[in-house]
Structures are given as C-alpha cells and as structure tokens.
C-alpha cells in the first residue's frame, strides 16, 4: 500500500497587513480561497472536502472558529477538518489536506489557513497564567533569544549573520506583491543599527504581526495531469518532541533532524543542498535561517552561518531561502506555514513572478511551532515523483 500521487494545482493568498479592516475573518479566508480556486480553474461546488488550520483560538477570541466560518469557507454540505499544531499548523494543515488525496478518500481538496491578529492580541493570548506551568517569556522572541545566543556561542558565528538574513528577506519581500513589510533600503547596517529587543535579537530581525490567509487546491493524479503546471508532492512529514527536557537540544532539535531525514528519504533526495532549488523555511527571527540550514541538512553543524554569509541563500545563490520575503516579512501565524508550503509550490510551478527562482524544479516548504518542537515539511516538484 503506497500513497496515491497528489499535486497542488491552485494557490491563493491575501495581501498581508497589520490590520485588514476591510474584511472579516470570513472575508479574509474567502479572499485566499477565491484566488486559489481561480488559479485551479475550479468552483467550490467541485471541491470534495475542506481542511482549515489556524493557530490558537484565543488569538481572535472565537472558540473553534471553523464552525461559524463553515459557510463562508464553502464547507457547508461537505466534510471539514480543523488542524491546530501551533506555529507549524499551516504546514500540518497542508499535509492533512494532501493525505485526504493520498489516501484515496477524496479527489479535490481545498485547504485554507489564516490568522487575523488585529482582532485580538496574540501577545496576551499567549500569556494566560495557569497553575503548574512555566511563566511566559514575554512573547516568542523572549523564548527563542537564549537559543539564538546559544547558537552564536556554539558556532562562533559573527554577530551580523542575523542582519544579513533580515536584509535579504526584507529586500526579497519588495518583489512579492502580497508581502506585509515593504521596508525599502534595508541593509545589514540598518538592521544592526535597530534596537535590541531580546538580546541578541534586534527589532529588524523579528517578524511582524499580520492579518492574512493562504489557500491551496490539492488534487488526485489524473486531475493534476490535466493541469498546466501541477506542483507534485514528493514527500511530507510531521514530527514532535517535548517542550522541556534536560536532554533537549533546542538549537538543533532532534524532531527537526528526524523529520528532515525522513523527508529527504521519501523524496529520494540524497544531497539537499544540490537537489533543492528553492527553500521556504520558517524563519520568524533572522537567526533561525542558519540554525535550520543545519538541522535540515543543507549545512554541517555550526556551518549554517557560513552558507548565509557566502550569499548562497540569497535569490541569486545556489540555495535561495525565502525569496518571498518569508515569515520575517509577513506573519499571519496560522497561515505562515501554509505560505511557506504554497510559495514552494509556486516556485516549481514557475508562478512566483518577480521572486521566481529561474528553473526551480524541486522546492522545500518548512514550518515549525511551539518551543521549536513541532515540525512539518514537504518537498514539491515540477515533475511527478518516480518513486
């Protein structure tokens, strides 16, 4: 028994902003859905099932919002699944949607993920004190800053590596019409000159809070074959580990390494640096680029920063990372992972416009969540997988 081939044939996303006052949650999702359906040349009536993902319900103050959204999502009268796996949710949602097709249960599946952070306050939604739990760390940056510091100490990376990533991603975002931040003239120097928020993380090295959504249409083999440019799914993976444990390596988590190893094997990839043409990696704080380059196997341990410094991850490098501008430029949390998965698919479909990597045939979509403990990834390709 093996997976049925499946492919992405439609992708849509919203214009991401800090406040989308022109749309409700339903309107935001529908904006992405309508674009994805138009891209796929399909109507909602043709869709067999819908899979929705978002980050914690407390972000918008609605319990299980998929229930009230059912009609707007086009799910009324159909099966609807709701996935929630922290920051990795956009990736996990894409994977669950893909599995509906790969299992042979449905043939045309619509998936959507969103966050409308402006309708509540994510910072405080993450700061509800409960008995017997660790104190919160004043936002995600406070939680991750010690990991970044630890990475710098272990790898001996110079302090401007994070700024290289930030300047690169913000410049890439200028080529992406949907990106939230459009900070022209961002340079390594300007990033280094911005305020320290959580030492060693500077203001310009952090992601914004965005309203936004992403949607995809995933279909079975025969339907994909008649699409002009399907993005075939070559491999998917999810792995989780504990939040805290003495033996955990939060700089290079085992769940990430295990997931990457399983993913490359599934996709028949032996040298990811050589075989992946474009990577969309979940980098909410700039230093996570060199860190994830290592745990994904693009670089040796403690060498990821050298890849970044060499320019290999720039748009014209040999392993371009986040040519869309990435999470650093748009972060509707629940959708951020699906945006990575969707942008990877756009690259192999050749539809990424100004931020298209020439001749991209295989791409990685990556997301992580929680305390660097939940991972979801996929590899998509322009060609149907042979394995």
């Amino acid at each position: 028994m093996s997976k049925q081939p499946a492919a992405v044939v439609g992708i849509g996303q919203t214009h991401h902003r800090s406040k989308r006052e022109d749309v409700s949650m339903a309107g935001l999702c529908r904006e992405a859905i309508d674009r994805a359906l138009e891209d796929a040349g399909m109507t909602l009536e043709e869709i067999d099932a819908i899979v929705v993902g978002k980050a914690p319900d407390l972000f918008e103050g609605v319990m299980m919002p998929e229930l009230f959204l059912a009609e707007a999502l086009g799910a009324a009268g159909k099966p609807l699944l709701r996935v929630h796996t922290a920051g990795s949710v956009g990736g996990s949602t894409s994977i669950v949607a893909a599995s509906l097709v790969q299992a042979g249960v449905h043939r045309k599946v619509l998936t959507v993920a969103y966050e409308k952070q402006s309708e509540s306050n994510a910072m405080w939604a993450l700061s509800v004190p409960v008995p017997f739990s660790m104190p919160v760390h004043a936002g995600a940056g406070g939680y991750f800053a010690p990991h970044v510091r630890s990475y710098i100490r272990r790898s001996g990376a110079p302090e401007h590596i994070g700024a290289i990533v930030a300047a690169k991603d913000r410049t890439n975002a200028l080529k992406n019409p949907y990106a939230h931040l459009r900070n022209e003239g961002t340079t390594v120097e300007s990033v280094m000159a911005s305020q320290i928020l959580w030492d060693p993380i500077r203001y310009d090295e952090t992601c914004p809070s965005s309203d936004g959504a992403c949607a995809m249409v995933i279909v079975a083999e025969d339907i994909a074959a008649s699409s002009p440019n399907p993005a075939w799914i070559h491999g998917t993976v999810m792995r989780s580990e504990a939040t805290t444990a003495a033996e955990r390596d939060q700089v290079n988590p085992q769940a990430s390494r295990d997931a990457a190893a399983y993913l490359w094997k599934q996709a028949g990839i032996t040298d990811p640096r050589k075989e992946i043409d474009a990577a969309e990696i979940y980098v909410p704080f700039s230093w996570f680029e060199p860190m994830w380059l290592e745990s994904l196997g693009f670089a040796e341990i403690n060498e990821g920063w050298k890849l970044t410094e060499s320019g290999a991850t720039a748009m014209d490098g040999d392993i371009p990372v986040n040519s869309s501008g990435g999470v650093l430029s748009s972060n509707p949390i629940g959708a951020s992972g699906m945006l990575r998965f969707g942008e990877a698919a756009m690259q192999v479909r050749g539809q990424a416009g100004e931020h298209q990597i020439d001749g991209a045939r295989k791409a990685l979509g990556h997301a992580y969540g929680g305390g660097s403990q939940f991972f979801s990834m996929w590899v998509v390709g322009a060609d149907k997988p042979s394995n």
């Binding site: 319900d57 009230f68 009268g77 504990a242 444990a245 295990d258 403990q373």
Partner: protein
C-alpha cells in the same frame, strides 16, 4: 481502502477532576491501559493525534503540554485537531490509509469544570453579531427542542423516554457520571430547567479523557481475536446560522451516515448531548426501531467535552470485541444544535473494506 480496526480503548469520565491533575496526569494512565490491551509500547505506535480545545483550558496551546504524556523524546509522528476525539481518529485513519503507518493512538481531553461550560461554548458562535448576545448552549438546545415540539416531530414524553432508557442503561456503565432511570412519569414531574428542557434532558457537565488505538490488517489481528473493523466512516458540516437552519433536522448527520453506509447496524452509540437530539439523529441516520441505541447510556450519562464523541466509537467497538454484536455504529457531534457530525461503522468482518 486498507482494512483498519479499532483495537484499543480507554476512558475516564467524572463530574470534576479529583484534585487538580494536569492533562498529562490524566492521560498517562489511559495510555498505559492502551499498551496493556495491545501489548505494545509507545515505540509500536506509528502515528499520534489528539483532539481538544484551548477554550476549555482557558489558555492557548493546551495540547502542547499534553504531548508530554506520550513521552516525546525521541520525537514522534504527531498531529492535533481542535475537534473531538472522533475527528482525531479520522485523521489517524487517513494516515494509515496513505500506507505511511500501520498503527495509531489517538486521544482527547477536556476539563469542563474549569469554567462555566454553557458560557464557554457560547464563544463558538458567530463573533461579530451573535456572540455579543451570549446565547448559551443550553438555551440554544432549548430553542431546538421547542422547534421540534411545535413542529410535531417529538414531545416532552418522547424526550423523557430517551432519558429513562439512557439512564437505566447507564447503570451498567462504570464510567457513567449520571445514572438511574426512574420512570417516565417521574421524570416528567421534575421541574423545568430551560423550557422545554429539564435537567435530565441535558448532558451533565463532565471532565474526562479517552484514547483509541487503530491498527491495519494483520497488526490488528495480532492484538485482538475480534478487531472492530472500520467499514465505513464519513463526516460533514452544516452552516451555523441559527436563523436559516431547520433546527429539527441535521442534514450533515444524514450525509455522514450516507457516506459511512449504516444499513444493518445492530447497535448505535449516538453522541446526543440533549435528549431530543437522539430523536433527530435516529431519523437522520435512518435507524429502525430494532437498532439498540446507546447501551452505554450515551452522552446523557456523561459528556466529557472533546472525547464524548470518540467514546461512542470506543463503546461501539467494545460490542464487536466481546462478540455481542457484529455491526455497530459510533457517532460524534460538534458545534451548536448538531451542526457537525461524524459516523463510523464497525464490523466483525472486513468484507468490502471501508467505503
């Protein structure tokens, strides 16, 4: 489709958490029971999936700490749905269908007593225009019950008969939170709670958790002599809008049943948190009078949020395991007034595979 069976099931249902255990403390013994039933360790589990809702815990990311109960170092293949256990089981069933894994352990948990459940669930409603009015779960169920009575679809006596039968059956269920059937006349003599609902027409507020183990083909046969094979599974949702829905019906339950194929079931475990909803479900699922409904007592005897639907599947599986039935059904519902529904049909034989 691959042959996949329910081979393990463990549950806890209680009026209040005894003391204040965390979800991890609640789940660990449930997993131990699943290992005992299967003879497996956690390394034999190919996929994990949980169901829960942050709003019961009153905090974000309640499922994050719950995965600690698994013992997730080394890491595991894992996912989470913000839905009932039954949908977590559906995701696991999908995963097995892809051929990627052979086995799965799914679980769900919820501590309803931490808040005021009927108000917490009001936060499920449309937030821009409906939520500010705070129509709570019991009131909405009351409107639904009244709509059915006014339409002549049922009456207070028919509702009391559901309660009498359920709470009598619950006497044989060690996990039941409420039990003791009394008589229909005595039930009807009790005071109104949310007219036309009496307290016994509403499921008790219940804390709890549950776990289900799935296995494919020979893996399932290794564990049990009579695996409960999933021969049909379907789910569907309706629009929420209370103003435009016919509250006496549940089209999504009907579609879920059609997708699963329910003909010939002998026992049906229905997730009906309000007595009249069992009447709606019987009709939508097309169950005849010869079908035994809720021999466990159903949700009226205990309704732990986010595991009560999956518990119905577990109870339906137990009837296959013990040989007392050869074809059973487990049903789960979610959302106000039976908005979203899942139907899982279990068989003693694998003939035909899942639809």
């Amino acid at each position: 489709m691959r042959d996949v069976a329910v081979v393990g099931f463990a549950q806890r249902q209680m009026e209040e958490f005894d003391g204040s255990p965390t979800c991890v403390e609640l789940l660990v013994p449930l997993f131990a029971e699943c290992y005992e039933q299967t003879g497996w360790t956690r390394r034999d589990i190919g996929f994990w999936c949980s169901g829960s809702s942050d709003y019961l815990a009153g905090r974000s990311f309640s499922f994050v700490q719950a995965v600690d109960a698994i013992g997730v170092i080394p890491p595991v293949n894992e996912s989470h749905v913000e839905m009932d256990l039954a949908w977590a089981m559906y995701e696991a069933w999908l995963k097995i269908q892809t051929g990627e894994v052979e086995t799965a352990l799914v679980y769900a948990f919820g501590k309803s007593s931490a808040g005021l459940l009927r108000r917490t669930l009001a936060l499920q409603l449309e937030p821009y225009t409906m939520n500010p009015l705070w129509p709570d779960t019991v009131s909405l169920a009351g409107l639904q019950a009244r709509a059915g009575i006014d339409a002549g679809a049922w009456d207070e006596r028919a509702m009391a008969e559901v309660v009498q039968r359920s709470l009598t059956a619950a006497e044989g269920n060690e996990h039941a939170v409420r039990k003791g059937g009394s008589s229909v006349d005595e039930l009807l003599a009790r005071p109104m709670y949310a007219d036309p609902l009496r307290k016994h027409d509403c499921a008790p507020v219940t804390d709890g958790a549950a776990a289900i183990v799935l296995a494919a083909g020979d893996k399932a046969r290794e564990v049990r002599d009579n695996p409960a094979w999933i021969t049909g599974i379907g789910h569907s949702i309706d629009a929420m809008s209370m103003g435009t829905r016919d509250l006496t019906r549940s089209p999504s339950a009907q579609r879920a049943a059609a997708a699963a194929g329910v003909d010939g079931v002998e026992v049906a475990e229905l997730h009906a948190p309000f007595s009249h909803q069992e009447i709606v479900l019987r009709r939508e699922l097309g169950l005849g009078d010869d079908v035994q409904v809720n021999p466990s007592g159903g949700a009226l005897a205990g309704n732990p949020m986010f595991s009560a639907g999956g518990i119905r599947v577990g109870e339906a599986a137990r009837r296959i395991w013990d040989g007392s039935a050869s074809r059973t059904l487990g049903h789960a519902t979610s959302g106000p007034a039976l908005q979203q529904n899942l139907v899982c049909v279990l068989d003693a034989s694998t003939t035909g595979g899942a639809r």
